[in-house]
């Protein structure tokens, strides 16, 4: 009973505040919903159980803001809710990071088409690292087997499964290229996808409405849609997560490669670059003239896919 009365007081305070200030409708809805959920959960029979807690957490999650507009406190709160929900729903202990970009860092990627031999280690590492849906076999990276002399990936074989490498062929990896002038960002009607200051194009999965305009806008086939509720076996879940990276997604939202934001903002290489057995993948800071990616740009013959579109991708293919 004590709890109810404190909530009543909170509702009273809230109504006072709303009435004393011409606040936004959204703010009102959000707060009212939060309190209603708290009250509703308490009114449920057998309240205080995990079911009631889960309902309340999900309700609060539903009414949170866009990540870019969240205060430090709001970010910490949503992280706590997400970690608790992962425990309640899936029984896994995850750590969701909100580490911001590093200063003076702009990420860039190099892909050596002379070295790649199509072993696909990058693809399976990516699936594991990013908790990609195992049911629909979602993959961020696609490797195309191309005939020598061919430069159009549309004519390459993106579903090969035989011993590699095959004589007279080369292999070309395609994923999100994190364009500086990304058409997907411009197409999004809800501002659920944007370019982070370190150049990573990210998606706020809780702000995406699943319209798939971004997918239509992307000329590189970089985005994936969750047609079903994504599922990852409990013991295969990567627990070190990032809010803008490999945390749990739901049915009906778009996702894509984030340069493994949960790894790269900890100073690590993306999972694909780390897993590559041939050293075909180079990753680093474009703003650092001593970085490996800058060596590649300066010394190797590089090209970008569909450069004429002006999307300005930060992903260069190169040859030895």
């Amino acid at each position: 009973m004590r709890r109810r009365s404190s909530e009543d007081r909170a509702i009273g305070d809230f109504v006072d505040r709303v009435l004393s200030r011409p606040g936004s409708r959204r703010e009102f809805m959000k707060k009212a919903a939060g309190l209603a959920a708290a009250g509703g959960a308490a009114a449920l029979p057998g309240c205080g159980g995990p079911a009631g807690e889960e309902v309340m957490l999900k309700w609060k999650e539903y009414f949170k803001g866009n990540y870019r507009l969240m205060t430090r406190k709001e970010k910490d709160e949503t992280v706590r809710r997400l970690e608790r929900l992962a425990k309640l729903q899936d029984g896994v202990d995850v750590q969701v990071s909100t580490r911001p970009e590093w200063k003076q860092v702009l990420f860039g990627y190099g892909f050596n088409i002379t070295r790649c031999e199509g072993f696909m280690e990058c693809v399976s590492a990516c699936v594991r690292e990013n908790n990609l849906d195992r049911i629909s076999k979602t993959q961020y990276v696609r490797i195309f087997e191309m005939e020598h002399g061919q430069m159009n990936v549309a004519l390459g074989d993106g579903k090969f499964f035989h011993e590699v490498p095959v004589e007279g062929h080369f292999y070309m990896g395609v994923q999100c290229f994190h364009c500086e002038s990304a058409p997907c960002i411009k197409a999004c009607p809800t501002k659920a996808t944007w370019r982070e200051p370190d150049g990573i194009v990210v998606v706020d999965y809780d702000w995406c409405i699943g319209c798939r305009y971004c997918m239509a806008a992307c000329p590189y086939w970089g985005r994936r849609f969750n047609w079903n509720e994504p599922s990852v076996p409990k013991d295969e879940v990567t627990r070190k997560q990032h809010y803008l990276g490999n945390r749990k997604r739901t049915r009906g939202v778009v996702e894509k490669c984030t340069f493994c934001i949960q790894r790269t903002r900890e100073g690590k290489l993306p999972a694909c670059a780390d897993a590559c057995p041939t050293g075909a993948r180079v990753f680093g800071n474009l703003l650092d003239p001593e970085s490996e990616i800058r060596y590649v740009l300066k010394n190797k013959k590089v090209f970008r896919m569909k450069e004429e579109l002006g999307t300005d991708p930060k992903f260069w293919f190169f040859i030895d």
Binding site: Q104, V105, L106, M120, K159, G267, G279, L287, V296, L297
Partner: protein, 205 residues
């Protein structure tokens, strides 16, 4: 005098016209990269990145980005140290067959005429490799030996276009040794089945 003024003007016009498309081309990430000329000393890298430096030796090759570290090899080698068996007395091939090195298939430099053991291994100082001038080369620094033939690859490796960096893109640069990835006796990667496969494009909507 007039003609001189005209030609000067024409030259100036030609120069500015010649520059303009160039300047227009240098927009976006290209311009950003060109302007970033100073090495980045990231405070985050120092604070966040924790590396196991003893597992790597300091390279004796100067890279374009300064000195870097190379993954040590001796701890990874199954049968080091060699002088455990090879101590002064000759080991006949028939005597060693089936015991020590019969897993070695030498497929290295075949188009140049096959290499022998002593092309790379020091005949007297058994725990070392041998350089072009009969000098000893430590197994941890085997890249120095590889670079005597594969100097082009060594240049790219020192710069970062060949080979692999270990775990971190930030902090101290540690790269793998040549022999971390390539079997020196058979350096080309073996043909094999891929780790996974991708569903056909028309099944992914």
């Amino acid at each position: 005098m007039k003609r001189l003024a005209l030609s000067v003007t024409l030259c100036a016009v030609a120069l500015t016209c010649g520059c303009r498309p160039e300047a227009g081309h240098e927009s976006g990430v290209g311009a950003v990269i060109r302007e970033a000329a100073e090495p980045v000393d990231s405070a985050e890298a120092a604070a966040v990145v924790q590396m196991d430096l003893p597992a790597a030796v300091l390279s004796e090759v100067q890279g374009p980005g300064g000195r870097f570290r190379v993954a040590a090899r001796k701890g990874e080698m199954e049968r080091f140290r060699c002088s455990g068996c090879h101590k002064g007395k000759t080991v006949g091939i028939s005597g060693a067959a089936g015991t020590a090195h019969d897993d070695i298939a030498l497929r290295h430099g075949e188009d140049q005429g096959r290499l022998g053991c002593a092309t790379c291994h020091h005949e007297k100082e058994r725990d070392f490799l041998v350089g072009a001038d009969e000098e000893k080369i430590d197994f941890d620094h085997s890249y120095q030996l590889c670079g005597t033939c594969h100097f082009r690859q060594q240049k790219d490796w020192a710069g970062g276009a060949h080979g692999k960096r270990v775990t971190y893109w930030a902090g101290t640069r540690i790269v793998k040794n040549c022999t971390s990835c390539h079997n020196p006796h058979s350096p080309r990667f073996a043909r094999r089945w891929p780790a996974t496969f991708s569903p056909p494009l028309d099944e992914v909507r």
